[in-house]
Symmetry: C3
Subunit: 247 residues, 3 copies
């Protein structure tokens, strides 16, 4: 669809691996990835509300990036990490859709045509009426529960290596006294595991569980040359509890 409307546009796929209907996962992957992508028109679709009354959107960030996708919170996490959202419109202009619009595939019939027309030089404001940025739907990001030497965290993402990304930043570990070399109890449901906090897999033995800062600045769990997600039977949204053991 994009190449029909904008033959010179370069299309770069980030992923087709987001779990169906998992808007939060899509939003977090987009936010982690975009800082490393060329600036452009960022199209994202995870859209359980397709065909209902959720609005189709295009946004412009204060840095000039453009975003296209459903008004369900998918775009805002990324757009606001990269700068404020400056303008938002509803994709209502029929001239920039593929008519008739199918009830179940707005990726093809609304979002891709809008992104392609933006790539071809159409102004954001031509795509439909303005919406107040304060009216946009927002996701609630899960916050960790930080206690004394203990953290209740949530799995945000599992990559294809089985590495398990948590909703934690390095400062959260510091707060409970976990530092490089610390031994850490990892509780998943009724199961208990033992991990070591390290900077890189190369510092631990094969098969060790590692708690580390991943390449996106989040805290993650991995098994050196193994698959942590399989061992923990970890899914996005699941609770994982960490406890600092005495050094």
């Amino acid at each position: 669809m994009i190449k029909r409307i904008a033959p010179d546009a370069q299309v770069i796929d980030i992923t087709h691996g987001i779990q169906p209907t998992n808007v939060l996962q899509g939003a977090l992957v987009l936010a982690s990835t975009l800082p490393y992508m060329p600036e452009g028109i960022h199209l994202a679709v995870v859209d359980p509300g397709v065909g209902g009354d959720r609005k189709p959107l295009a946004l412009r960030g204060s840095d000039g990036r453009l975003y296209v996708g459903p008004d369900n919170g998918l775009l805002l996490v990324a757009a606001e990490r990269l700068g404020a959202v400056e303008a938002a419109v509803e994709l209502a202009e029929r001239a920039y859709r593929l008519e008739p619009v199918a009830s179940t595939f707005h990726g093809r019939d609304i979002f891709s045509p809008a992104a392609a027309h933006l790539a071809a030089g159409v102004e954001l404001e031509a795509l439909g009426p303005k919406i107040g940025v304060d009216k946009l739907v927002r996701l609630e990001l899960p916050a960790p529960d930080i206690g004394t030497r203990r953290i209740r965290a949530t799995v945000l993402y599992v990559d294809r290596f089985g590495n398990v990304q948590l909703n934690l930043r390095p400062a959260d570990l510091e707060e409970v006294g976990i530092e490089e070399g610390s031994r850490v109890e990892v509780a998943v449901g009724f199961e208990r595991y033992y991990a070591v906090a390290a900077r890189t897999f190369a510092e631990v033995r094969r098969g060790d569980i590692v708690l580390y800062e991943d390449a996106y600045g989040s805290i993650a769990l991995a098994i050196n040359q193994g698959n942590a997600a399989e061992m923990f039977v970890a899914r996005v949204g699941q609770e994982i509890r960490l406890a600092a053991l005495d050094a």
Copy 2:
């Protein structure tokens, strides 16, 4: 291979997810997808007969589109939906193959080189001798069995969301009295399920089974925010029986 011969060609992948040897599935996905793709040289390979006596083909449609693939029916469904096939040749000219041709990988050694040479401006007729269009191998498309308030349908495709596409069009449902809002019994083997006919997922509750017209104009079964294919253990080619219940 394509970029070696035609460095300026733009390559767009439709899918690498067709089940091995499932020519019918490949033909239907191609026919559903091409109307939304830029016009070009359409290369498709699902090729259980590789190395046997099935011919390698290139076709030209009456709208100017070109098609490359095996003579097993894969290309014709798409080509004829978009207009009549105007010319067909057998890919016999050795100058446009990668010699020596491997016995098991004509995608690399015959089909991709032919598509690339067409992209680089070689005439269809230069690729090999003409074949009569009436001589081309055709697939038999499964037809639904439509009774009184009952239909025996066949699964044509299962997408990555678990939505189950049937060999039915909206007119088939009308014929047995199924309309928006109708309750429908869905029988798969000895199992019975209950679905509702709706225009979009947003009209039903989470977990409801929906019978709807999908984005390609076919009738499909889905579970709102669930996976219908997993529930039905549905596979391409399987029979699914629908019965209209009294409203």
Copy 3:
């Protein structure tokens, strides 16, 4: 990352399907594939030693191709099949990295930037200090054990059709008297199967096990219209024993 640094570079993905940490599999797929790819800058990352003391490399082959990846043997099999390695450097120059470099994602922070800068015209020697080619880490390729009418082989690769590639060439089969039409016993652990040596699937019946020369010049096992890897429960690195039966 590549497009940020070299917007005009064309990026072609070979595969994202290498098993995590399987450097040998990555090296063999690269060596099989590159002869069919346009000459360019070949970036490969299978990197269990990321964050440790393995060096990041760029190489130049005698045919002018450039290679970027970790110094763990991944690149050398391909580079040496296509000609001698003429120069090697360590990717140490900070100006051509994404700083700060994450400890676990050198694909993004070291290898892709290096490949992109090479694509944009930077000289290999500018990326860091020279390394002697004789100092590069080499993989030990598994060699078959060839006896009298018997071979112990190793699985090198399983493709998505379930075809099982072995570390054998046609000459190895000749040596033990297996030729076209021969019946062959295939032993996997305690299980025994019977295969026929053939040039192409089209020569055998549906469901037959075929021993054939695949499209990369290696010997492979397949089931005509079936999945050999599932039947054999075959994994990369596993031993498979072949015995010629009397004709």
